[in-house]
Symmetry: C3
Subunit: 469 residues, 3 copies
């Protein structure tokens, strides 16, 4: 029997939904794989005596994040208005906490979707859960770099639960869950509200602010600053891990950014991917030129951090800017990451072993500003309930830049004190910093119970325990 | 000229087929990449003196598997009834070997599709070949962990051919090729027959049973058990490799499980992926809590094996269970893997260097049982020719649990004796175990001809052979 | 309101375009990830004292390639006739440089699309930019292996820009941009012209020819040849890196080859992927058998290079050949790569540390020849404006083999002199080869400013700089 036109229309809509779902899932897989990239970059940038500990944190944070997000985080983030229109999700999830100020509604967090009950366990909601979860987990893994080589594992576990359940989801609700920052345009005429396509603020600025707070509160590694207060280099132990991890991150970032169309039917995903690639390249190139000029040699860890800075910075504007702007945004970030890292180390006297604050914090903020400046008006029609494409200050909409600035300030105002309070309380409960003796010996045995690199190597008959009794 | 409704219906069906094909292929690529994960996990968990050998086995098994499956395995597995209805594959491949018992047909293996002749080399059959191949190759790589650090390479090559051509395809035919285990529901009213969505039994139990057989037959590594018979730890040599490999496996597992819908049009793939992610997290978390309780420290290798155990266990039930059940299944597996590994080592006195029996065998069986218990009836309509969704004992269908138990017993009854016989014969032909001297020195030079880690390292002027003559 | 048939037809066409776009993008991501594979293979095959340098080159080449291709390469390659019909790209990009010889048009390079101006920054053009970019970057990374452990970083940077802007794009235009080699069939009746489905010539032969030129011009590493002129082994420093990298390459290669359908709607992508997998397996197997016969031991680096050789060789013919031919092409390449590597080392007296010339050059040529021999006529209808499927000599079309041979000769004739000239000029500008002292000490400190592997390891209190002042 021949189908009717109505049958075909229904079947075609199902096909388009399926393509959207497949796209989001593949993108989510790629983002999940970034956890391996973080693990390798952070482990490579620190010392051999802490390999099991640094790897252990970067590994276990993935599990902690999933559990925290399942029980609490997802409901707080996405259980409010509007968010589930994407992917054909129904509105049944929507129930949110709102306060009214200045005669306007300020959505603060959602209240439905906790523990993915069977009635809500549809393909569309499952997809959005997965995609948001891997973004949240990316955020969770950023502070592990800043507090590496001295953080007690039990404190790390508790703090990561706080990120996954509270710190990340609340801010994400404000931007992606239909909350008050998203509504700055509709409520106050500030462009399209705070626009962050794939997370320069939601993921990276959040992570970077926490990194800075932890680096300050936990204090520098023993030996990082001399008696004269001058910083001393603590070299990365394995450049192969650093560069491999950076490639994994750049690979996964295509899922991160291009997947944020949330729709395979949206051809903009190709432009997003190319802008992402361009900024990653100029980020690395900017760092190359600046490192050559500043230090005389193109230290590969700067090249890596330059590429990562470019990726962080393009994450918010990737869907909205021209190719030349993507090139420029990346180039600036490649220089900025070095300047920021030196400032944090030399002026603020903070010890952030992997440069997380500079890469994710400073360049996350730069990415948000860049969106408010360079968005060219060709994309984002109707975003956050505002007509027309997103335009930055360069294209005449200064309100968009204003919303960007408010978004950055709100992030810092929320994340910094809550992270500091949580870290303080956890410190009282279980202690945050390993003992000096454990730190000097490395945290592998004391915190994890095994060495990261055991075995006496080839030619020695193997590790002692394998010799016949 | 405007297309007719019939034209559109045809074109739409083609589009849906293409989406299904693309989904299966992307999933297959991800599963293939798991080979790198296995290689890193197994190499990291063993000793530096066997790096070239352990890597060599995990690498070459991929090639052996492909060749064996091309010539023999695929035809035995999928050249029977029903299998190729999926993906729009035509029935021309179908020709199978069936015996009749108790008045019922027992399909045992297929008889067509050997060497992918041009007449059958269609996109749909190519896709199913690729997807099944990478599953089979996953199975082949599991025993390399159990016999690591003492297995002769030539014996490994021959044994892997036996897996790819006979051991795996026959059992896979029974479950996924329309064979007698799949027909337990239609023939005997046991639920939907033996249901294994993505391979807890077909892949993991098969691999785990072989791992146990090989660990027993090849004997423990020199020095593993003291004169008092007590096991002694042989530490992992590189935790960075172990954790990176585990992330690669968890990444590829999304293809493994979600890809097993065999259709991008089937939105259940999103629920499958989320269940997979949830169980991986609680698996790691269960291992964390239990290891802290049992040993006092969260050894990262237990965290990794806990996550892998959760992944193995959710592989069969991932499409059929609620989110809370996925959380529970993973949590149990994270404890179970440690208990099982200790039992195998301390009670059975077997030396399985990477814990393959505990991860894949014990948790594969647990995953199959969990399907028979927790399947909630929302999915699997019409599977194996039985109406309605798959329901486990908790939802009233004890026959489903019965089919699960029969599936496990059939696996052990087929795999264990055939593997033991093959290993015995190969031992007579080429010898299974390396000499004690080679084992103590490491198998890299004796079996592979090069060291895994050569070079005297930085600052020494490089390896001796590079100095000027 | 019910949609009309015309509405549905439009929407269906959009859906198919979106599926094509999604497929190309996912494939491009996979190809990009191959950069990590190259980095690991090359670093693992060389020495620990050059880890930061070898990793640094393989990392930074990605950024250089993007920048060079953005400003110049893409326009030269694809800004000509015909190329953008794929993916629904419009013709506005087309403007090319053509010369007329023998009364026929010889397209030499394109002249539009430089810097991706906003008017051309459509999803289709962005997708083709990204896909072509990652192919070009693969080519750029090949010579870094041949000149490893002695190449000055500044020279490497300049030379890589030359590849990305000139050497690669011009030849790619001839084959994939509608240039004169593509037109050999339409113009001169030579089959379908020079057919290279995914780059055995465009990517691999180009890279391999450059590798040979550089190995010759830069000269062997100190100590590679004894006073007697005999080659001496310089062992790989890390087999775990080599094998992991090879798996990453084999994984990404599925994007490389199957993605080259440029359409998710084209089911041939499944056959391409299976042929790719088959040849990779027989390549490794051929190398195994030949290495066992020749050297007595299955050195894993030969297994890896055998698999890579099989992948290189199947890259051109993967869409056109039967499964048995894919098996055969791979098997030959697995032997050929060893024979060629020994010839290059022992007869030509060249030092190519990773075997790039043998893997990419010799097997790239073999892949092109194999296309001209084994193409079975089932695919490629209308390719390069010629009716009917592509048939090789074995299926009666000797003209196709002729076009293959012309394609190889044209590659060598273009690439070798331009690469040699560029390398010569760059050598005059900044010097190509590091000093003997730096080479003996390793290039990490002298060229990159840091050691690849620092830190005194566990149990020592960490690297010296971290001790308290």
């Amino acid at each position: 029997m021949e189908p009717t036109v109505a049958d075909l229309a229904k079947s075609l809509a199902d096909t388009q939904s399926a393509l959207n779902l497949v796209w989001v899932m593949v993108a989510a897989f790629l983002v999940m794989f970034m956890q391996a990239g973080f693990a390798l970059v952070e482990t490579g940038l620190t010392r051999a005596k802490n390999v099991a500990h640094t790897m252990g944190m970067n590994f276990f944070v993935y599990a902690i994040g999933i559990i925290g997000f399942y029980f609490v985080g997802f409901g707080l983030q996405m259980g409010g208005v509007g968010a589930l229109a994407t992917l054909g999700g129904d509105a049944s999830l929507n129930h949110e906490f709102v306060i009214n100020l200045f005669g306007k509604d300020f959505g603060l967090f959602g209240l439905k979707g906790f523990m993915l009950p069977l009635s809500m366990y549809t393909p569309a909601i499952a997809a959005i859960f997965m995609f948001q979860m891997v973004f949240m987990d990316t955020t969770c893994t950023i502070p592990t770099g800043a507090a590496a080589e001295r953080w007690k594992f039990s404190s790390f576990v508790l703090f990561s639960f706080v990120i996954a359940t509270v710190i990340y989801p609340i801010y994400a609700n404000w931007v992606w869950g239909g909350g008050w920052l998203a509504a700055l345009g509709a409520n106050f005429g500030l462009g399209h509200g705070h626009v962050d396509f794939a997370g320069s603020s939601v993921v990276h600025l959040t992570g970077g602010v926490m990194a800075l707070v932890l680096a300050k509160m936990i204090g520098p590694r023993i030996g990082k600053f001399g008696k004269d207060g001058k910083p001393r280099p603590i070299p990365a132990h394995n450049i192969a891990q650093v560069m491999t991890g950076t490639f994994i991150l750049a690979f996964g970032w295509f899922g991160f950014n291009a997947g944020s169309t949330l729709a395979g039917m949206d051809g903009q995903l190709a432009i997003v991917a190319v802008n992402t690639m361009l900024a990653s390249a100029t980020g690395a190139f900017g760092a190359y030129v600046f490192a050559k000029y500043k230090f005389g040699k193109p230290d590969p860890t700067w090249l890596a951090n330059g590429m990562l800075a470019g990726l962080v910075a393009i994450t918010a504007p990737c869907a909205f800017v021209s190719s030349w702007a993507a090139m420029l945004i990346g180039l600036v970030s490649g220089v900025l990451v070095i300047v920021a890292a030196l400032f944090i180390e030399r002026v603020l006297k903070l010890d952030d072993p992997v440069g997380a604050s500079a890469v994710h914090g400073v360049n996350g903020a730069w990415g948000i500003l860049a969106t408010g400046i360079f968005a060219n008006g060709t994309y984002g029609q109707g975003l956050n309930g505002v007509a027309g494409g997103v335009r930055g200050a360069l294209y005449g909409d200064w309100g968009q830049l204003g919303a960007s600035i408010i978004g950055i300030l709100a992030n810092i105002a929320w994340v910094a004190p809550v992270a500091a309070l949580a870290f303080f309380i956890i410190g009282k409960l279980v202690g945050n910093r390993a003992s000096a003796e454990d730190e000097v010996n490395g945290l592998d045995i004391s915190e994890m119970g095994i060495l990261g690199y055991d075995d006496a190597g080839p030619g020695t008959g193997g590790a002692k325990p394998s010799l016949p009794a």
